[in-house]
Structures are given as C-alpha cells and as structure tokens.
C-alpha cells in the first residue's frame, strides 16, 4: 500500500552506533487473562513464537510476542497482517473476555545498532542495562527522556525501540544525540 508511510520514513543517523527508523510493523495490543491456555495458544499460533514470561519478549523476524503487563500483551506481525490476526483471535476466543486492537500506526519502531548500544539506551532510560541484568529476550516498558517507550535487544548490539508515533522524531532525536555523545564505557 503506497499510501502507507511510517512516521519517519526510514530516517537514518549513521555513526558508531547507528539509529534507524524501522518502518511499519504490525502491532496488536491484547488485553486479557494471560494465563488462559486459549489465549496463549492463539497468540503462539499467530506469532510463531513461545508465549513470553513476565518482562520478556520472544521476537522472530517481524513477528513476536512481548509481555506488557499482567494483563497486556503486544503481538507483532507484518504490517498488513493485523486484520487477519484479529479475526483469528476473535474466532479462537469467542465468548472469552479480551480486547485486541491494532496499534501499528500508533507506534514508531526505531532500531539502534552498534557496540555501545547499552550506553546509548542507558543515557535515556532508567533501566538496568548491565549485560547480567538485561539480555536478548528481555523486554522493558520504560521511558526515553520525557516520553513512554519500550525496547528489547534483538541481538547483543542491536536494540529495537518502540514509542508513540506522534513523538517519533523526539525519540529519534534523543537516540541520535545519545549515540553522538559517544561511549560511556560502563557496559
């Protein structure tokens, strides 16, 4: 769909740590009873990944599941697949109390890549980014500067950050400035 554009249209700030807007990604906010087997199964089926424990995210390519809170989950799918996913859920969870809403376009996805990526994130988010405390598979809802954000490590030197679309350029600017500020040498 050529009419669809992401918030920053793939903006890149290259450097020792590179900040890159990651384009459109399908995202579905799920509220429900996370202990429900039905809910777990349909989420696993759609995403193709294991159901995440608290504070974790299982991401494979464009798809994945991230634990947002005790009754909230984020389902990641390719951008065009959200309607189908929501329909699948509606079928599987008929009669069950839950909510599934597409929020793909309410978000921006920013990838931060480079060997001091942990330093860059720690400049902006009150999160323990020590390699013993935050690993690939961990997921944190937090803030960047003055806006809400969440991130996970795709690889040890690559983080995916999501924030609200309306503040995408602010978040990008923060990450760019933090990357340009250089290595702290703590992590």
């Amino acid at each position: 769909m050529s009419n669809s554009v992401s918030a920053l249209q793939g903006k890149v700030a290259a450097g020792e740590v590179t900040v890159r807007e990651g384009g459109l990604r399908g995202m579905i906010t799920i509220r429900g009873d996370l202990s429900s087997t039905k809910l777990q199964n349909i989420c696993k089926k759609i995403s193709g990944v294991a159901f995440p424990k608290a504070g974790k995210a299982n991401i494979a390519g464009d798809s994945g599941l991230a634990w947002m809170s005790t009754d909230e989950l984020l389902l990641l799918v390719p951008h065009g697949d959200t309607d189908a996913a929501i329909e699948q859920m509606a079928k599987a969870l008929k009669g069950q109390h839950y909510l599934a809403e597409t929020v793909s376009d309410a978000r921006a996805l920013i990838t931060v890549e480079g060997d001091y990526v942990r330093d860059v994130l720690a400049k902006l988010a009150p999160v323990d980014l020590h390699s013993d405390a935050f690993k690939v598979g961990d997921f944190r809802r937090t803030r960047l500067g003055q806006v809400a954000a969440a991130f996970w490590l795709r690889e040890d030197d690559t983080a995916d950050v999501i924030c609200f679309r309306s503040v995408a350029d602010y978040a990008f600017g923060l990450l760019e400035a933090a990357a340009k500020g250089g290595r702290v040498g703590f992590h």
Binding site: N3, S4, E101, V103, H130, G145, R165, S166
Partner: protein, 1003 residues
Amino acid sequence: MSTRLTSGGRLVNKNKAVSFTFNGKNLKGYEGDTLASAMFANDQLLVGRSFKYHRPRGVVASGAEEPNALVNLNEGADFEPNARMTTTELYDGLTAKSQNHWPSLEFDVGAINKHLSRFLPAGFYYKMFIHPRPFWKYVYEPIIRHSAGLGKAPKDRDQDRYEHFNVNVDVMVVGGGVAGLTSALAAAKTGARVMLVEQTGHWGGRAVVDQPEIDGISAEDWVNNAVQTLESMDNVTVRARTQGSGVYDHGYVLAYERITDHAPTKEAPRHRLWRIRAKQIVTATGAIERPLSFAGNDVPGVLLAAAVRDYAVNYGVSVGDRTVVVTNNDDAYRTAIAMKKAGLEVPAIIDARPAATGPLIDDARALGIRIEMGRGVAKVKGVKRVTGVAICAQEGDGAILEEIDCDCVAMSGGWSPVVHLWSHCGGKLNWDAEAAMFRPDPARPPLGADGEGFVITAGVANGHLRTDAGLADAHAAGLAAAKAAGAKVAKSKAPTAVDADEGAISPVWLMPQGAKQALRSKAWLDFQNDVKVSDVQLAAQEGMESVEHTKRYTTLGMATDQGKLSNINGLAILSKALNADIPNVGTTTFRPPYTPISMASIAGPARDELFQPIRKTPMSDWHTENGADYEPVGQWRRPFAYVRDGETVHDAVNREVVQTRESLGLLDASTLGKLIVKGADAGKFLDMMYTNMMSNLAVGKCRYGLMCTENGFLSDDGVVARIDDETWLCHTTTGGAERIHAWMEDWLQCEWWDWNVYVANVTEQLAQVAVVGPNARKVLEKLGGMDVSKEALPFMQWREGKIGAFDARAYRISFSGELSYEIAVPASQGRAFWDALLEAGEEFGVMPYGTEALHIMRAEKGFIMIGDETDGTVIPQDLNLQWALSKKKEDYLGKRAQERTHMADPNRWKLVGLLTVDGSVIPDGSYAIAEGENANGQGNTQGRVTSTYYSPTMKCGIAMGLVHNGPDRMGEVITFNKVDGSTVDATIVDQVFYDKDGEKQNV
C-alpha cells in the same frame, strides 16, 4: 610573596607550561595546576571581593569547600560564572575574571560598604521592612545594587552538550581517598557490582599528601595499587572527576561527572549526570578543616593549614615565604613541618592549647620551630595581603603581646567530617565533644523502604581521623554494604596503617576567647556571605533561638558553598550565645547537591528541539509547510490558522470560517482522543462514566456525551460510537485523551475491578479529518468508495469502508453546524488521505482550517467547549445541558454531587449568548458588572464571559457567558468591564447564533 617552589608538585608537569589570563593579565602555570595553584605561582593572592562589604579576598582552601575564589570563567558560549578556582583544572587558553569587583579588583569603590557595616547588620533585610522608607530608597538601595550578586549571568547559548546516564549498582562508594578505595576493594572482592567516584582528578585524598604508611608501603604506592586493582576488575567502575552530589530515597544517587572541563573539546559531552540506583551507598567523603575565628581571618594569605601544605606538596607552590601556623590540634603541625622541609620559614606555631605533646610537636620543635602554647591571634595585619599577626593570650581579651611579621597564616580549628551525603536522606549525627565534631550515628542511618539503612559511612567521614582506624572502618563498611546488597561475604583483613600519634584537640570557637566587639566584628565565620562572629551573636541577642532562624537572619551558610567552612563555627558561636550545648542547638539541613552542579547537566539532552516532546500528527509537516500558526494543545501543536502571504492571523481565521460555511473546509482532528472500551460490562461502565445513557446506543450510531468528576463538575465531552455489541469508541478532547484513559483505568482497577471491561487508547492509530461544508459530501463522493448519502449515512451515524483507496471509518458528526463528516484512516495513510482530499477539493476551493475557526464555528452554533465554558467549577446544569443528564439511570459519576444544595442552587450563573449593542467583541475574561460592592470593597459581578469571538458569519462580536439567572433575562442589556477601564453593553440572547434548527448539518 607566593611563588613556585623548586621542590614538590607531585601533580604538576613542570615540562609543560600553559598560559591563561586573569582579569586580562597573561599568566603562566603548569599542566596539572588548578587555577588556584597557578594563581599562587604568579603571586596573585587577591582573587575576588566579598559579597557584602567587598573586602579583598584570597584563596582559603584547596578543594570543593572553597568559599572565596569564585570566578567568571571564559567568554561567550563557554562562559561559566561562579567557577571555583580550587576545583578548576588549568588548561591552555583559560580566561578568568574576578567577581564582585567595581570598578576593578585592585581598586574597589564598593569596599566603602565596610564603613557602612554598622548599617548592614545581621537581619538587615528583615529590619529594612520596618525602617523609614526613604532611607531604603536613597541610601541602601544604590549602594547595595552594586554589591549584590555573585557571577554574571551567561548571555550566549551554551555551546556544549550534556547527558544523563542511568546505572544500577550493588554498592556505590563516594570518595576516592584511602577509605573509599578500601571500601570499594572490600566490596568488589565479594563479587558485588561496585561503583567508586572521586570528585577531583586524583585518587588518594589527603593520604597522598600526609603520607601515612599503609600495608608497609607509602600511601602513594598503596593508592596506585588499589586503583589499578579496581580498574582491572570487571565488576567495578571507577570514575575520577565525578562527584557524588546527592543521596535520595531508595538508594538513588546523583553523581556529577565533569568530562571535559579540564580539557575542553567539542567531541565529548561536557558534563554527565549519573543517575545511580544503588542497593547500598558508602560515603567515604573525608573531612573539611575548620577555620579559626580571629580578627582578619579573611585577609588574603590566611588559609586553612592543610591547604597550605596541599599547595606545597601537590603543586609545588608556596603561599608565602614565612608561614605562621595557628592551631588547636596536632595535625596543623604537619603544615609547619612541610613548610620547613620545603625550605620556607615558619616564624612560629601559635597553639591555643595551654599545653600539648606528641610526635608531630616534637618533630616541629626538632626542626627549630618556635612554638607558642596558650596563645592566639589577636588580629591579622594587612589589607590586600597578610603582613603579620598580632599575638595575644588565648584566654584573654586580645591585648597584644607581640607582633610577628609573616605573609601567610595557616589556620586549623580541627576537622569536620563531611556528613552531607549521609544526611541528605535523613542520616542522623552525634556531637562528639572530645573530638569536637559532628559524626554520623551508625545506629540512625537513612532508612530504605524495608526499614533498613541504605547508607554506611566510612573512614574520616565517620569521624576516624587516624589512618589505621579509618581503614579498618572503611573495610568493614565495604563488606557490610556488599552483604546488605546481597553478596556472599567472607572474612577478610583490612589494610593496616601507621601515622603519627596525635594528642587531643581543644575546641576553639573564638580567638581569643574573650575577644572584644572590635575583634569579633572582624572575625569571619562565613566568608562568602560576609557573616561575622558579631552577627551571629547579634542574632541570638535579638531572639533567633533556632539555628534555622539564625541561618536565615544572618545568611550564615546560605551562600553557594552552603557553609562548608562556616557551619560548625557558627553553630558553636550561637550555642555559646544561647548558653546551650552544641548538640542542643542542632545543625541546619544538608541538602543536595554537595557543591553546585551545572544547570545544563540537570537538563541533560533536554535543550533546543529536544527540550520538550512536541506531538505531531501525520499531517503536521503539511501544516508547517502551509503557513500554520501553531498553538499548544496538550503536548500537541495544532494550527491556530493557516496564514497566507499578506494576511494577518485574524484575516486567515475569517477566510477559513467563510470558506467552510460556504463551500468546503478540512480540519486535522487526529489529536482528538479515541478510546476503545470493550467487554460484557462495557455498557454498564460507560453509563457510569457518562452522564447520559450509552449502553442503549445502537451499533452504527453516535451520541454526544458528557463526563463529570465524582464531585459533579464537567470534566470532558465527546462523541461516542457503538462499534459492535461489546465495543464502544469514545472520543475525548485533545487534552483529555490520556487523562480520561487513566480515569477509566482508575475506576476499573480500583472500584469496579470485577467488571469485564478493557480500555485501549488508540488515539494515535488513527488520523482523523473533519470534512466540513456544503460540499463535504461531494468531495467524498468524488473520491469514491462507500455510500455517504443522507440515506446510507444519516446524521449521528458511522460506517466503515473504503473512501478512495483508503481504509476509512466515516462519522456523520458536526461541531460546526455544517454538513460534516469526520473520517478516520490508519495514521500511516493519514498524509496521503489529506493530500487526496486537498486535490479532490480543489474545485470547491478547499481550505484547511485551524482551531480558531473551529472555535468560532462551534460558538456560532452555541456548542460548549471544555476548558472555555468549563473551568473545573462548572456543572452541566450551568450550561443548560440537562438534556444530557439521564434520569433513567440510577447512578453516574457526579450524579449525587449535583444534588447537593450548592449545586442545585437556582442562583448559580447559567449559560447564555451575548451580543454587544455596538457589535464589538467583548474582551476575553470580562465580568458583568452588578450594583454595589462586596465585603472587600470590590465591585459586585453578575456573570462572566466564557467564549468571545468576532463572527465572520454574523459580522459582529458574539459571546457566551455565565450570567446570574441568565436564561430568564433574555433581551436584557448588561454591562461588561473592559481591560482599558471602560465598559461594553451586551444583550442577553439565546446561545445559538447560527442555524438554530440545525438544518445545515442535517442535509
């Protein structure tokens, strides 16, 4: 004179000279100097003028406690006021200017203030509220104007970058002296994650100057080994030039790293503010030497004794050729010995104690130094530099026994542990009378959420002045902190140390102890704020019993050094004046930061475009490119109007209104809140949240709803759409989206947790455009797709489908009174949809309109606006919205509150329309004038304007307002006040000015 010595200078590189200027004069120092040491090397004793009396002042200390030597550093985008010379590391090209001088440092007219000192007593500012006014205006003000302030305010933009850094550690050790190193080593060896910070650029604190032997080797070697060991450990971070500035609840520590202050470069951030979450904190912050209070103790050349030897040992500079040491303890003898060993003269050691013995005293005597016991300094001679001291009996009233020529006075009144960080979060202190110091009470530490202490203090900061005891204490502190942080701790041995035995200190708070008024009024306590012994005594005489009162009355300890040198001496003087013990007088509160930190480091990255997040819709770029005159709405910026060349904003607004009413306008409504409420109990829930009924809304239909707080006041409004059996979409105001989302969650989580309802905020998922005007349907039909005819999509209904190539949900709702659709598309398609509408609308002369046109059009229709007609005190009944208050429902938020007598009072002001008699626009905020005056002599009022505009449709001013009995007074003319003092008459009319029957929106 002060000069560079041939020997000493362990921190300076004598092979590398650097140039700097002071007040325009070119001077030279060495790499490794501080600005203070380089000034001494150039015989620049006079560095500034005092705050109040403009007395000549010199450097007193060698570290962060320095009260006098503040300078304006550099120029332009580098400019920094109030830089401490003692903590400013020298680099090539540094420029410094002294502060508080007028017109010059050497010749200062302001020094005339000293002759007025009897007119500037303690409590001066308070007393001036009582004294005759003319005296203030003609005498004090002109003089004090020139005295006030410290450094200049920067004029240029700061060119540097600053950043924050968040880390979590197990044990945070503050202070890189031998105690801090010992604590860090002890904790690190347990495997705990440790961070150690030191505020200066060098490790080892005082030990590397005073050179005790540690573990059988020199302190310097031991320190180097310790730092190397720590740096090699993966679980340890060590940072020099990083000050532990503040300790806060839950083990939160702020540390202030000065990355490039010593070597300016554009490459790295200048300061980094570390935001550290520590499980345990060890404060190994050392101690500060106290001045002695004798007359003239502020003359340049009078320094703290330890500072004098710091300058000699660390930087290889002497303050004077002949140093008289004045002391009440053994430690200061080290200064005399160091001076002598550096080849300098020590004419005498003046020891206030009647008698004292010990190895340091023996050493001094063996070097041939004259020691005068039981003596004190009556006064220091000299104005801009010390020329000598007059000696007296400490027990006497200051009768001069002898005068000794000298050019440096090294004073020591004993040591005060740096308890600031211990105290920031509530750690308590004990007064140790024997050692004459406040020291932390380990039994009363700052407590964490679990009721356990989270700060441990170590070494000298814990009152252990001797090295061996200090290191044992620091080792134990390191282990205890690691253990409390959850590490497994094995027993290990503390380092051992040997230093010279010291005898007891004898507290000396005033020298001589019976000093007469003339001497007391020249004995300085607080150098930076010019507070003398006599001021504190006067404060006590005038009834200031609490130390906090005295502090404010005299300004003792209120300068930028927060009284690091003055607090204990001031307290002691006060306690004596009050005939109370020092612990009963108490201390003032220690507040972070330990020393001032840059404002920019607090801001971190929040500057320029990153100062504050500004929310943008998918169409924001278009708005900016097309003349948008923005206004803030929540954290969004919405176009107020789109101003074209040659137009005023007012012209633009009128053009937009006329175009929309006559043909076609577009509004970017993406910022409106959109909340999805879903679940079996969602209808029941919304019936509680809204004043009107939402549960019976049919799928496919829309209804305007009001929300009130539980106190009955209007909180938000918007259109609700029933999406399916279990799902509603609630529109909120732009500013209300997050607030109403939180409000709903609050009720669901705290009150109705057993109701099956989920809420999701999808505000940003959707770009929303209001397509408004007689040609609205035509333009949508031109784009093609879903049937938007009156039959297929009636007023107050919604349909989903395609409009052109876009996935759309179309709502037939109108806030303007015109034929109007609000079309929501996924945000990613928002800009393309906007462009498509502009293109298709060209034949209709389409124009986007801003928030002001939106406001005017809704006011012409008499629609209320949350925030205009409401202000937190207005209930729906005030706005004649009874039709939106369900009578069928048993309850809704606000219902019971609205039944209270005050809410049901028929005298509440009610909404009406207002038309000025002369057609003018009533000023915003105008009140309707009533007869008579109230109890306060103010004119009575009978109403106020809530919205007022020029209506391009009516071609006159229109307004809405709340008026006493308003709806019953239609046709009556009332008078409104204006800002210029005149008044304007307006007729009370129906609030709907335009298309009263709603025919235009329902076509």
